[in-house]
């Protein structure tokens, strides 16, 4: 019932349009002796315009067709028949379709602009939240230290650690935002060079604290040959994958990171234990600004995995999230396009 109602709400304008059509037909019929054909035609274009504003081409064309039929049958001589004896009338019928089409197209454009604005707004919200949280930690700690000169060494140290951690978080987020704008620019060309995945992993791991790694991370790497790709982007890919796994894995559980060599591609797999996420949500995990529900306490902008997707796409690879064994496995396939010869 609820569903039916919401369906009705969505298509309410169509019902209204039919009401309007009946009204217009009545008016035109009553005043047919006082009105010229051209006036009646113009009256009939009103419903077409109103439908077109909703930006749905199919409804627009349907209403345009009905209007044309009514017009032809009731008002265009010979009356009460579908035949037309003047070519001008056929032309005006085509105009109905064209006008409806143009307005629909413009309405669609406006709609997508609106959506872009919404995305921009949510980006601003997320960024301001994620930047302000660590910033307030920094501000608070500094303020406390400035106003309170007799703090003991231990609390001083822990405040400084907070500042340090927060500033690192901010730096990583800023890098991600910059990368994301750079990557969404379609004309970006990637700088191919010979990359060593083991080397890249080492660089990526340096971004995280040693303790975090050694306790949680289990690494398995095949004997790999060099890979032809963009070193900087692949490093960013690894950092974001690891960051995501560290952020969303449960306390006391392990993270598995694997790189496997195949004939035509390299597979990178990262698994962390987590609440089961249903399939629908897994699909949107790589969308910009998507964040798992109930994760408000975890800092993150939902940019990380969308950057991963862009990077993988630039390398003509594929990335997917698979739910298994109480966790999520993110798997990346990168095709080998060139083999090294030494």
């Amino acid at each position: 019932m609820k569903l039916l109602f919401s369906k009705y709400k969505e298509h309410k304008y169509i019902v209204n349009i039919f009401g309007l059509l009946i009204f217009i037909t009545l008016i035109s019929h009553l005043f047919r002796n006082h009105l010229d054909v051209i006036n009646i035609t113009l009256l009939h274009i009103i419903p077409v315009i109103i439908v077109a504003i909703n930006g749905k081409l199919r409804s627009t064309l349907l209403i345009a067709f009905i209007c044309v039929i009514l017009l032809n049958f009731l008002h265009i001589p010979p009356l009460y028949s579908f035949s037309v004896h003047n070519d001008y009338h056929i032309l005006s019928f085509i105009f109905f379709g064209v006008i409806g089409g143009i307005i629909t197209y413009q309405a669609k454009n406006l709609d997508s602009q609106k959506k872009q604005n919404e995305i921009r707004e949510s980006l601003l919200n997320i960024i301001s939240h994620d930047l302000k949280t660590p910033l307030s930690t920094i501000q608070g700690s500094v303020n406390l230290m400035l106003s309170n000169s007799n703090l003991d060494e231990k609390s001083k140290y822990s405040l400084l650690e907070d500042i340090n951690y927060s500033s690192q978080r901010m730096k990583r987020l800023i890098t991600n935002i910059l990368d994301s704008t750079r990557l969404s620019n379609k004309n970006i060309d990637i700088k191919h060079q010979w990359c060593d995945f083991e080397d890249i992993l080492g660089v990526a791991l340096d971004e995280f604290s040693q303790m975090q790694n050694d306790e949680k991370l289990i690494i398995k790497i095949d004997e790999l040959s060099l890979f032809w790709g963009d070193n900087t982007l692949l490093t960013q890919l690894f950092i974001n994958l690891l960051d995501n796994a560290f952020k969303y894995s449960k306390k006391g559980t392990k993270i598995y990171f694997e790189i496997t060599n195949y004939k035509k591609h390299v597979k990178i797999k990262i698994f962390n234990e987590n609440e089961i996420i249903d399939k629908e949500k897994l699909r949107s995990i790589f969308d910009k600004f998507y964040r798992a529900e109930d994760s408000n306490d975890i800092l993150g902008s939902g940019i990380g995995l969308s950057i991963c997707k862009s990077i993988v796409k630039l390398h003509n690879g594929k990335i997917e999230a698979i739910a298994k064994n109480n966790g999520i496995s993110i798997e990346v396939d990168l095709p080998i396009i060139k083999k090294v010869r030494i």
């Binding site: 730096k171 990359c195 060593d196 083991e198 080492g202 660089v203 340096d206 060099l226 090294v340 030494i342």
Partner: protein, 227 residues
């Protein structure tokens, strides 16, 4: 005697931060904010090390590095807010010894300053034997010993390791390493460098995925780091 560091930085707050830290850690310093004054200061004071910001109000820092290199081998550490790798590589190739990107940690900068000062004073007398932790490299006999055992290295692996150790704690660009170890004409053959670094790491590092000695500097090169 206190060692003298020349600061060339146009941002007041960064300059202040550097001055306070140098004072705290027992260095003398002189500071200025543009190239023109910096050159005069350099000639009159002969500093032991230069900390240089790349974006200066009166011209590019890279040009300044080149003109200093015509006069002296003084260690130069570049500070830059530019994340552009090519910019950093260009200044290292122009003769800078090391670089740090802003925002940076002061203690890391101080560590790099000390390492560069040490290496610079070592340079006067090239050593015969280098020792890094449990790794020992003997120049005259070409022997490399790890944990008391002789390590088998191919000639290129040996040359690579030697070049790294002699230039330890210095950021070396891919191009520099390829030119020095493989020779001119090889500066773009990255696959050699990647492969040999990988095998060398497997021989000398405890965990080659988390290297402690041969550190990668993403997009720029390598640095052989000794604490």
């Amino acid at each position: 005697m206190k060692q003298l560091i020349q600061i060339i930085e146009d941002d007041i707050s960064v300059r202040k931060l550097l001055e306070i830290s140098f004072k705290e850690y027992n260095f003398s310093y002189i500071s200025c904010e543009n190239r023109r004054v910096a050159m005069t200061m350099f000639l009159s004071h002969q500093p032991d090390l230069i900390v240089l910001d790349l974006g200066l109000p009166d011209g590019d820092g890279k040009e300044f590095i080149k003109s200093i290199r015509e006069l002296s081998l003084v260690p130069i550490i570049v500070l830059t807010a530019r994340d552009d790798e090519s910019e950093i590589v260009a200044s290292l190739d122009a003769g800078a010894d090391d670089y740090m990107t802003k925002p940076f940690f002061v203690n890391e900068l101080l560590a790099r300053i000390r390492a560069n000062l040490r290496r610079h004073s070592d340079k006067e007398a090239l050593k015969e034997v280098y020792e890094v932790g449990e790794l020992k490299l003997d120049i005259s006999s070409r022997d490399v010993i790890l944990k008391g055992e002789l390590l088998k290295l191919t000639p290129i692996e040996y040359d690579l390791l030697k070049y790294f150790i002699i230039n330890s704690n210095k950021t070396l660009t891919h191009k520099q390493i390829l030119e020095e170890v493989w020779g001119i004409g090889y500066q773009n053959e990255m696959q050699y460098l990647r492969t040999y670094v990988n095998t060398l790491r497997k021989k000398i590092e405890i965990n080659s995925t988390r290297p402690k000695l041969i550190k990668s500097v993403s997009g720029i090169g390598y640095r052989f780091s000794i604490d």
